[in-house]
Symmetry: C2
Subunit: 342 residues, 2 copies
């Protein structure tokens, strides 16, 4: 982070440096082994263990696109910002080492009003709670005033040399698996959209509806599952489900130069979600992976269910990349997840 602790700015001050100071004091609690130098200089410094490589990813979250200030509690926006980055690290089978955060905020979100905490402090509550859970120190970043709220997360992870799970390793004959259940984030978002969400999240009238919102508000990155797969060399390829199964499986097949067949009836669908939401809804942050047919994948990994949903087949010119099989036959599954600028 630019700026640093300064005697000139009292606690609770309103400027950038005061906010940096608050962030710095809170982030210092979660320092870890790989991080040598955190917030307070021009760069953070990381030291790798011998034999490890560094995985690095960055993901934008923009108000009105990836979250809505009027639908999502600030803690959820913070949680989801970090979850997006952790999920990419999980998909490589890497161990999170540190995060950097760039925040652009309208002034009214950066300052407290009376006794109410500032939006940004509640954002940090959600962000740092998830960071603590995965021992991921906040090592730096940038702050700026912005007409639009925007958060860019940088995640750094460590992985033994040459052992990262890639999108490109799937081969014909491999089996396709997915962790958890799909469509829950899309279904939860629809609930929020229908304005039910706002009442629910404040009044907490219905435990059941809170459960339906959880996949959308508090997605859980599958870091432990990614580590399990990598350590046991169980997966030939992996990707996280951020854009939707139909889009992300397409990415995996394209990078691996293969095709895939999915069994509709084997799809694990979240409570309250439709098959369409499970196939095309984004932001579930589950892992999609492939494994050799003779490798025995358990039904659950580190407390999360695993479902066998299809198989990798040879790519054939002129044939669709993904086939969906159900009781009525074989259908082309087109990429219908989120695409920007389309």
């Amino acid at each position: 982070m630019r700026g640093k602790r300064s005697e000139l700015i009292p606690d609770g001050g309103h400027g950038e440096l005061a906010l940096l100071d608050r962030i710095r004091r809170r982030s210092a609690r979660s320092a870890s082994g790989g991080l040598r130098l955190g917030i307070g200089d021009d760069c953070a410094i990381l030291r790798q263990k011998p034999g490890e490589e560094l995985a690095v990813t960055t993901d934008l979250s923009i108000a009105g696109r990836h979250f809505r200030l009027e639908w999502h509690p600030p803690e959820s926006v913070g949680h989801r910002t970090l979850a997006r980055g952790l999920s990419d690290i999980a998909a490589m089978g890497a161990r999170p080492v540190a995060a950097l955060l760039s925040l652009g905020l309208p002034k009214q979100l950066a300052v407290a009003r009376g006794r109410r905490h500032a939006w940004v402090d509640r954002f940090l509550d959600g962000f740092l709670a998830l960071a603590d859970q995965y021992q991921t120190p906040l090592a730096g970043g940038d702050l700026a005033e912005s007409p639009q709220a925007v958060a860019d997360i940088v995640l750094l992870g460590a992985v033994p040399r040459g052992k990262a799970l890639l999108r490109s390793g799937a081969r014909p004959g491999d089996v396709v698996y997915v962790t958890g259940a799909l469509g829950g984030a899309a279904a939860g978002l629809e609930l929020l959209q229908r304005r039910l969400g706002r009442t629910l999240s404040t009044a907490r009238k219905s435990e059941k509806k809170q459960d339906l919102l959880a996949p959308s508000l508090w997605p859980q990155p599958r870091v432990r599952q990614g580590l399990w797969l990598r350590r046991r060399q169980a997966a030939t390829a992996a990707i996280d489900l951020s854009d939707g199964l139909s889009t992300d499986l397409d990415h995996l097949c394209s990078e691996s130069e293969v095709s895939a067949e999915i069994d509709a009836e084997a799809m694990p669908i979240s409570a309250g979600a439709t098959q369409d939401q499970a196939l095309h809804g984004g932001e579930d942050y589950e892992l999609l992976f492939t494994s050799r047919p003779n490798f025995s994948i358990p039904r659950g990994i580190a407390g999360v269910s695993v479902s066998r949903i299809g198989r990798i087949v040879k790519k054939r010119a002129g044939q669709p990349r993904i086939i969906l099989r159900d009781a009525s036959g074989r259908h082309t599954l087109s990429r219908a997840g989120w695409e920007h600028f389309s």
Copy 2:
């Protein structure tokens, strides 16, 4: 980057995947040693040399704050986005290894209109030209549609273990130096603001005024100078001048727990700039560093002038952190650079 090359999207297509494809093809040209896996998977993978640490930084550039679509040519916005990150790497004495770029753009900036190149392609021209100059491959990032144009740069650099130049190493008695000349970016911005800029940048009527705009439009990160200082162990502390001398020297003094005295007459002021712009104007991206008094710093490093502008003194309670000395006496130099949310 999310997404990947796909046969489904023709060249010149308008969607996110088509844009990713264009970026991926262009960025592949500049791959380097430390980068093991670039655009096309969930993360980029870097491999460090033994005995090296990783420096990482992220910097936001937001339309209306850090650049103006109506003042800055798209190539300049791309150049400046990357220069911000390279400058932080330079300030640590690190060698750039790879960059990641998160771009949020309104749709009209992402698509070409008729024969005119899309804004984003001209942005990439500027970005990749500077990336080539510093052998910094674009290794990944994220793309999203956004009401506001926003670019977040992530820069990764390598530095021998324990050898990074820090803000915190300055000691009383050290001499304060600065590379290049100061105030040029602020003076150039004022020219652009006065609408002279727009005419100038298209018509190029006046070579001289182009020169005056260069520090603002095409700042040069001092990567070679930072490497020189680190390799010769010439600097006790360093910071890049992004927020303005008065603010950034304050950061350095605060981290080092020292004070400083600056000689107004020794300040290298850019042609066309005022002393105020040199003291408080941001975005010059020069290096400010300190050196032991017995270390002989040359007048130029790797083709850029170096000026001795003051000295580090002991911090005294109740005394101002920075004193400016001129013919009329000693004055308190208050932090007056850019501060967001203030």
